[in-house]
Amino acid sequence: MSTVDKFVAADLVALAAYDRRELPSFADSLVRLPIEEGSAPHLELLPLAHSYALRVGQGVWGAAALACVWVLMVFMHVPMDWQHKAFVRDTLDQGSNVMLVWLFATAIAGYARRFAEQRFTRFVSRASDPVAVGSHLVDDVEPWSISFRIAGVTSLVVLFGVVLSMVENHTLFWFPTVPLPSSHPGSWNFLAADFLLDPENSSYDLERLRDLRIAMVLISALAVVIGRSYVRQGRLARILREARVRWIAIFLSVVLLVAAFDLSALHVNRDQSWILTIVTALGAGSFLVSVASFAVKRGGGVEAANQD
């Protein structure tokens, strides 16, 4: 304490003494639960349920998502009559809806857990700490966790799906139309005005739009699962944690998926469908990398320390 002013040094001594008072034992530090005994024992169910939902969800839904994405990608581009794919497509559509419910349920469970822990346990220990400073008295055990990432990804996917559903159901006529007549085929316009003005004769292939929506949902779930469960360490994790990789993947996924969306929305010549296949695959891959990168970002500091 000899290198700072005496007054400051005295305070630092007091702080050091204070910080060494009532330290939790080593054993307590290992098993210390976020919910203090007797405060709200029933709330222990929330973290337990959340953890259980995550474990089950990651395993079962991860495998299901992987299988569904593979099947979907194959069936989207096999040269056969579209009518024969109806059953597969409907099944996948329902599967993606279930997946969305799972994503939302997990996110809500995460929010509920965080809220309960903050509301009923945190303030108790904070208020008994006489030298606590600052306004960040409310903390949480697992902030900005997988639940929030899932919620973010899900929100984007649902927004995407809702817009497409409205288009499919012809309920988007309130959307301000722009004077882009169908005499401009191939125009890079996200919601082509010719569909809005004349849905019966639109050049959009609605079945393919639905395929893309399903693929987005499944890929989102798969990316979260991969990011959280299987790519936590190792070289791939280090690459995914790079901010540059993340932002490049986001940029590519936006550009390529919009391109794929437009290509699939407009009737692509069957002989040229390989272009759509490549663009869609690259876009889906970029999207997967970007979401997995966000998912794996948490905990990077410790692993970075371990690398040295």
């Binding site: 304490m1 000899s2 290198t3 700072v4 002013d5 005496k6 007054f7 400051v8 305070d11 630092l12 007091a14 702080l15 050091a16 003494a17 204070y18 910080d19 060494r20 008072r21 330290l23 939790p24 080593f26 530090s29 290992l30 210390r32 976020p34 965080r114 809220f115 903050q118 509301r119 303030f123 220990s125 904070r126 208020a127 008994s128 700490d129 006489p130 030298v131 606590a132 400073v133 600052g134 306004s135 960040h136 008295l137 409310v138 903390d139 949480d140 055990v141 902030p143 900005w144 929030f148 948490r298 905990g299 500091g301 410790v302 692993e303 970075a304 320390a305 371990n306 690398q307 040295d308």
Partner: protein
């Protein structure tokens, strides 16, 4: 790990704004350390490795603060005090009432905590490691993964900020003692 327990737990408290924050940080760091133990290549460097984990986890938590502040669940301090049964009075005298810690000592510790909290993270880490934990500059450099000159710079700037926080001018400062890295 047990021989390091007290020092690491106290170090975590030195970094954080409250004991509860610090105990959470220490617990999280312990869990991370156990799960990553197989990545520790040099067992002789365990102490440095453990401190680095505490610092890494702490920095990660700070990064999350930005998002946390946007949360609708953020509860103002007055609301916390009301729920804890202290009404709107959150003065230190009210808060210390349930402990055997004297008001003067608690006030001194609170002043130091506030001064440390006002420091940038890297400077706070350096100050706590040097002034409270009594580590050498070389050790701190290894823990913070920076050069020794960078640590000296952080220490000097941190002290200057603490003086400013206390309203002490440089002229009032005591001469540097032997072994002062700056």
């Amino acid at each position: 790990m047990e021989p390091l327990h007290v020092r690491c737990a106290a170090f975590a408290r030195g970094l954080c704004r409250s004991r509860s924050d610090a105990d959470d940080l220490y617990q999280e760091s312990l869990l991370r350390a156990f799960t990553r133990l197989d990545a520790l290549r040099d067992e002789a460097a365990f102490r440095t490795w453990m401190y680095r984990i505490v610092i890494s986890v702490h920095r990660n938590q700070l990064r999350k603060d930005f998002i946390r502040r946007l949360s609708p669940f953020h509860m103002p301090r007055s609301e916390l005090a009301r729920l804890a049964g202290h009404g709107d009075d959150v003065s230190i005298e009210t808060l210390y009432r349930s402990t055997d810690w004297s008001p003067e000592a608690a006030e001194a510790a609170r002043r130091a905590r506030a001064a440390l909290a006002a420091l940038p993270t890297a400077q706070r880490e350096a100050i706590v490691l040097f002034e409270i934990e009594g580590m050498l500059v070389a050790e701190i450099a290894a823990i913070q993964s920076v050069s020794e000159s960078a640590v000296k710079s952080r220490l000097a700037r941190g002290r200057e900020r603490m003086r400013a926080h206390y309203g002490i001018t440089s002229a009032d400062a005591i001469p540097a003692a032997a072994g002062d890295p700056t």
